[in-house]
Amino acid sequence: MKIAVCIKRVPVMEVKFAITADKSRYEETGLKYDINDFDLWAIEAALQLKEKAGTGSVHVVCVGPNAAQEQIRKAMAMGADSGALLETDTRNYDGLAVARVLAAELKDGGYDLVLFGRIAIDSMNQMTGPMVAELLDMPVVTNVFKLDINGATGRAERVLEGASEVVEFPLPAVLTIDDGLNKERLPSLKGIMAAKKKPLEVKPANLGDAAVTVRSMALPAERAAGRIVGEGADAVPELVRLLQTEAKVL
């Protein structure tokens, strides 16, 4: 089982973001970075498939800045065997440009599976996985929360709004992994030490001209403070009125 996992370096979300003066991007000072949560589950899925098969390899690919080597090393510490950084300093919101670079990298790799996280928690486009599948001419199954690979075919359950769907697909295939498939492992120190010796290839990536550019960015409006309408049954009519007219939830 030869598996590739595409990961993204994203800012840790438990910080207060600030927007630059020209409103084109968020401030990067003081940010910390980690592997995108959904990609962690994709890595975990790949590792479990490899462990179950007892043979195979997990290769991690990342399009990002030089510092993203840190995230690739972390994936290796979790157990991935090798990695490649397609280096670019462009902060690109154009999923297709990223997908083209990835597809070119993966094309001749002979992978049985290419895994993505369902969505990147920073840009939230959820398009790169399906685009890579299209470029590689492979079937794609998105939002996978249950997975079973049997020889040359796979069976997955997909998350739908309030329901789920079971699909079958032939290998090779592209899957995007959703929350709930697994809980990612934390790297052990043994894994961290071993990761330092695993092969990591760094090569420049040319994203070309972006078809999509960000014109402006804004923080969400501050939530207004709660209001106490009154106390007891007397307050109910006013509360209902406000819920209808102001909050518009009734």
Binding site: E14, G30, L186
Partner: protein, 671 residues
């Protein structure tokens, strides 16, 4: 002549056993335990000879101490008996002036009697009273009865030997017990008396040799090792004594982190196994065990010795050859999992109650910590709930997923300068107030933060906080076995503190206090770290806190000791003194388990971030004890204890408030 052969044989057999035990202990890794001979001598004299720790158990402790002292005194007599076997009729009377000899005889008689009385009571305790701590674990209770019987036989035969010598006309001077026995048996013919005397002598002499040779194979090996174990115990003093073993993560050739099997432990951990007599004092004090968890610190030590015996026996049998399938199966086992389960290890709150109680200075916690390190560092195995805390520590520098930007939210309207502010004004604070993650983010703990800040302001202390530059020092990760994450975080904090040339740190979190004061030095961070209860007491003593002394409430306060303040750092008085000084009319009440015997709140050792589903909740047990004192206020000096006690009180449906010592004092501020 016959005796000489027996003695030689017994001596040889004993030597072989002793050397084997030594060789086995050295399967453990090296560790220097030779520093500080003064403290070692003090420990030996107090804990060893004066039996201070065994006396913590009241009357039973005294009885055991009598047996120990009797053993020491009667060892002289044993030597005399053994020499008699080689030199017919030998007596110390040949060597000693007459009065001194009589004193010697008297000492033998007195201790013979005392030991018999003590053994009688110990029999009574084992067979009739049956204290709970003797049961519970699968230990060798029968062994104890056997050894008590053996001591009885030795004492009785010694007295009979003496008595028959008197019967044959020897001097009765000093023989306060055997002389009356001789009189009682006065009717015996001289032949019968001779036979009885010689038989007693032989039983006694052979009994001594059998006893010595039995010890290495029984739990009573402690007779031989406890003093040595006490000598080699940790001498690093208050605070440092609870510091976890330093670990070199950068060592190039290191392949094992923590301990999965006996060879990963130190020789001292293994000798602890030899010294354990399964008395159960540790387990009886263990908060996890008391509340029905699987952990028993006694069994951690018993299992360590059992695994060592199992593995070393096979290693000896294999020698330089190839192991058979069965032998290999034994060698492939581990102390971890095959003997000690993950579940036992994660139940530990690292409260040190077990270490505190052990009369022979065993360190159960050290073994637990080393096994936890293997679980996390080698295998990444830990309770699922803990992952959130570890991930957050790595991502956010706090075990809770809060934004660093919120760290100083509590300062709003209080005019609290940060170190950066001070530096910008070219000023230097006298102290750095280390707020800690709970103090920064937890809504209840933030009130403690404000209370302490108000005291500092009222006392005109020039202080600053780090604000957003503060991050966790990694102690929770370290306690959970994640040394890697710990060192990363701790080194970051040390860099920040050194950047501001911080000299003195004051904090109200005992975990921060312990970590920064006692464990940072191993990573090169040297600061004077003071717990706020010590600092408040100092301010009160200097009269620097303007207190409203007239309107003191009449309170009945039960102070709950924090483990990391008390047992780890020997701070028991300053929280109590601070309360007394701040409240003119206060009654301090103490639950039965208090001070060095205080029961943990249940949050230590990373338990704060794990579920507690097995047995009773530790905090509920502790809260009930505190409520039973009739206190109308519970005082704590730790934000973790605060959370646990508050939850415990809610569970008990009680409305007794929990206050931090600083809140008690701040409540009396004249502002």
């Amino acid at each position: 002549m016959v005796f000489a052969v027996v003695l030689l044989g017994a001596g040889a057999f004993f030597t072989v056993s002793a050397l084997r035990l030594r060789r086995w202990a050295l399967i453990g890794h090296a560790e220097d335990r030779t520093n500080d001979p003064a403290t070692r001598t003090k420990n030996l004299l107090l804990i060893g000879i004066a039996q201070t720790k065994i006396m913590r158990d009241g009357f039973g402790g005294l009885m055991h101490a009598l047996v120990f002292w009797g053993f020491c005194v009667l060892a002289l007599g044993a030597l005399e008996i053994l020499i008699q076997g080689l030199v017919d009729g030998f007596s110390y009377a040949w060597l000693l002036p007459r009065p001194l000899f009589v004193v010697y005889v008297l000492s033998q008689e007195i201790f013979c009697g005392l030991v018999l009385l003590a053994v009688g009571w110990l029999f009574y305790r084992r067979l009739v009273i049956k204290p709970a701590r003797f049961a519970g674990d699968p230990v060798h209770g029968g062994d104890a009865l056997f050894i008590l019987s053996m001591i009885t036989v030795l004492m009785v035969t010694l007295l009979l030997t003496f008595a028959m010598e008197i019967h044959a006309g020897a001097s009765a001077a000093g023989h306060i017990l055997s002389a009356p026995i001789a009189m009682l048996l006065g009717g015996l013919s001289s032949d019968a008396a001779h036979v009885l005397g010689r038989t007693s002598w032989w039983i006694h002499a052979l009994g001594l040799l059998a006893f010595a040779n039995y010890l290495p194979f029984s739990k009573h090996l402690h007779v031989l090792t406890s003093l040595i174990n006490t000598w080699y115990s940790n001498t690093s003093g208050p605070g440092r004594i609870g510091a976890m073993r330093p670990m070199d993560l950068e060592a190039e050739d290191a392949e094992q982190f923590g301990a999965a099997d006996v060879e990963h432990l130190s020789w001292k951990n293994l000798m602890d196994g030899y010294s354990c007599t399964e008395c159960g004092r540790c387990t009886a004090a263990c908060p996890a065990n008391i509340t029905g968890k699987k952990l028993s610190p006694r069994m951690i030590v018993v299992k360590t010795r059992a695994r060592l015996t199992e593995k070393a026996t096979v290693l000896d049998a294999v020698g330089g050859g190839t192991a058979t399938m069965e032998q290999q199966a034994v060698l492939d086992k581990n102390l971890l999992d095959d003997w000690i389960t993950e579940e036992e290890l994660w139940a530990c709150t690292s409260c040190r109650a077990c270490v505190e109680e052990c009369p022979v200075s065993i360190d159960q916690l050290d073994i637990i910590n080393e096994l936890r390190r293997d679980l996390v560092l080698m295998e990444s195995r830990f309770p699922e709930e803990a992952q959130g805390a570890l991930t957050s520590l790595e991502r956010n520098g706090s075990p809770w997923a809060y934004s660093a930007a919120d760290r100083e939210a509590w300062t709003e309207g209080l005019d609290i300068p940060t170190m950066a502010d001070m530096v910008a004004r070219e000023e230097r604070p006298d102290i750095l107030f280390w707020v800690g993650c709970m103090g920064s983010f937890d809504d209840r703990a933030k009130k403690i933060t404000v209370a302490f800040a108000r005291i500092l302001q009222a006392a005109n202390v020039k202080f600053a906080i780090l604000g957003q530059e503060e991050t966790c020092h990694g102690d929770p990760a370290r306690r959970m076995g994640n040394e890697y994450l710990y060192q990363m975080l701790a080194k970051g904090v040390i860099e920040t503190l050194d950047g501001y040339q911080v000299k003195t740190v004051v904090t109200f979190c005992p975990h921060c206090f312990h970590q920064m004061g006692n464990e940072f030095p191993d990573l090169g961070g040297h600061y004077e770290v003071i717990h706020h209860t010590d600092y408040i007491e100092r301010l009160l003593n200097e009269g620097r806190v303007p207190l409203n002394t007239e309107h003191g409430q009449r309170l009945k306060v039960a102070y709950h000791d924090s483990c990391y303040l008390g047992r780890y750092n020997d701070i028991y008085d300053s929280p109590r003194n601070s309360i007394r000084k701040a409240l003119p009319v206060v009654t301090l009440v103490e639950p039965p388990r208090t001070k060095s015997r205080g029961l943990c709140c249940g949050a230590g050792g990373g338990r704060m971030w794990m579920e507690e589903t097995e047995g009773k909740r530790v905090n509920v047990e502790r809260t009930e004890e505190l409520l039973a004192t009739g206190a109308d206020t519970i005082a704590v000096a730790c934000p973790f204890c605060m959370t646990m006690m508050t939850d415990g009180l809610t569970a008990s449906g009680s409305e007794v408030p929990v206050l931090d010592v600083s809140e008690v004092v701040a409540g009396q501020l004249r502002v």
